[in-house]
Amino acid sequence: MSTRRSLYLPRRQVIRGLLATTAFGVTSRLVGCSSAPESDAGKTGAETGGSGSGSGGDKPLVVGFIYVGSKDDFGFNQAHAEGAAAIAKLPGVKIVEQANVPETTEVQEAMRNMIEQDGATVLVPTSFGYFDPHIVKIAGEFPEVQFFHFGALYQEGKTPKNIGSFFGDVDEGQYVAGRVAAQTSKKGKLGFVAAKPITPVLRNLNSFVLGARSVKPDIKVQVIFTGDWSLPVKEAEATNSLADQGVDVISMHVDSPKVVIETAEKRGIYSSGFHAVQSSLAPKGYLTGTAWDFPSVYTQYVEQIKSGKKLMDGSIPHLTRGGLKEKFVKLAPYGAAVSDATKKDADAAQAKLVDGSLSVYEGEIKDNDGKSIIAAGKDLKITDPALDKMDWLVAGALGKVGG
């Protein structure tokens, strides 16, 4: 470190130094030798990425998945990882995965490496926060690579053509779950543990409330925002506080619903899940819940890509969304506590939502300050862009969006 004024060179030490350097050189060369086949593999990967056309032909289609957390989190990331695992089984498809990638330059580097080193031609960075600026930036650099992002963020004319957004509209599922909750609740008070007051969470929450109030118009849903996607202790505290307030059905939108469901079960109250089917966690109190069906979504995409369709020429639509009908989301099997009458009602509601005779966002809908959001007689489809700007809580939800 302090090498200044070092003109004095004892002979023995110079020799020793040379020896040490040689030894280091030999070691690193040894490592280099054994690595030869691996780096060749890397090179071919990079070439594939450079040419940019992985679809069709005899080369496998390499799909890169990036998750913001661990892919075994029993929640959001795992739901995507299960979709990835499903397409990995398809012939001619290879997946590469990277988990725990924060929404910083790190995700840009991960995407770049997947393209350049692994030859990925399709990337699925899953987290909402990856989109801007990270995916937008990398997509601009690699116009031949197709990016599929979960979230309805694609904007015509603004977003690069090689980005496609897909989003599962949970609203219908949560509407039915809300109906089940309201019919099962004995006390007429529901609770909702939410991570952050952002649009996807609010849509989930509001449709749950709307569903519940379509059965019992006076029912109230107490909301607690924990402030972050995964805070197990706070989520448990929130569940307990809700139970203390007499709530007897709890739904949630956090990354890993396990804590909320298990705590509710301990308190002897009902829960309605999210992200995945969690009935095994609460054999007594689990009612139903909305779960993603990513294996079906990703398989649909892979089939389109393998048949030569592309985002860039518009043969794959830039914004794909679906609910129950399109099998983007599904309703978990009803739990033991759901009565037969409720099951029948929920099945009927589900059938009506699928065939379009029932709508979640049918006016008049007021927010919980009494302001009219959707006018009477107006009926917003769940794909309506206005709903992607949701920043209000519907009447009947007790809580507030502002931090």
Partner: protein
Amino acid sequence: MAAETVGWWGVPLAIAAGTMRGGTPFLFVSLGECLTEKSGKINLGLEGTLLTGAMSAYAISYLSGSPWLGVLMAGVAGMVLGFIHAWLTQQPKVNDVAVGIAMIIFGSGIAFFLGKPFIQPSAPQLPTFDLGGWSNISSLQEALRISPLFLLGVALAPTMTWFFKSTRWGLFIRAVGDSPDAALAMGVSIKKVRMLSIIAGSFLAGIGGASLSLYYPGIWSERISTGQGLMAVALVIFARWQPMQCLYASLLFGGAQAFGPALQSVGITQGYYLFNAAPYILTLGIMILTCSPTRTISGAPGALGSGS
């Protein structure tokens, strides 16, 4: 509102219950850190120990079906990490804080690496004492459902005070921490005492982890700790290295975690991000009020962190 709901009383009730539920990991980690610091060493790595303990407890409980065996193994896993820390920090020119931060990374790495298969399954939880049976209010019953680990921790605090005050080994630890020269003169091996103190402290921190995964919130996930291990180090200073005060401080921090959600459940929705920072602001405030520039903090082990 239905008869059995508690309304506004829910806030103090949730905080009281939170002190016991959420305070337990703080309690064990801070007592462990207290023991370690009394011997003159700092172990910032208890965050990693806590995570490893939480993972081991859950994994062993799941595999063996015995939560108590899980608690024991959490302690043992903590001891292994404690040994690494103790051995490294007693080498010349090695800084406690630096090793601690490296141990946070290493400990959490090991816990996450080995813990992958245990995120999904449900492990048997520790039994609880239900002291609220006399009441028919479910919230009160829940608040009075008390973990044996919590009681153990509460009992440990006065035991530790007594241990430091009245036993030979307690004296050795204090001597080593306060003035290593005096300890040497007493014929005590500084290395051995510190080694044992750090290992025992890490054992306790491991059990703190077990209380997270086997009691409250009772799951294993990579986000199970939100810095409880690091905060416990702050708690010890806040508590002036006195086990009884560690107990009070841990209860305070446990209660503070319940504060934000409880307020929202009764309709106070403003600024929950700031409410979440309340325990840190409070600690800092109390430290500012009680510290003095002219004297060192009373109760601080004299040789703490000096590397001697």
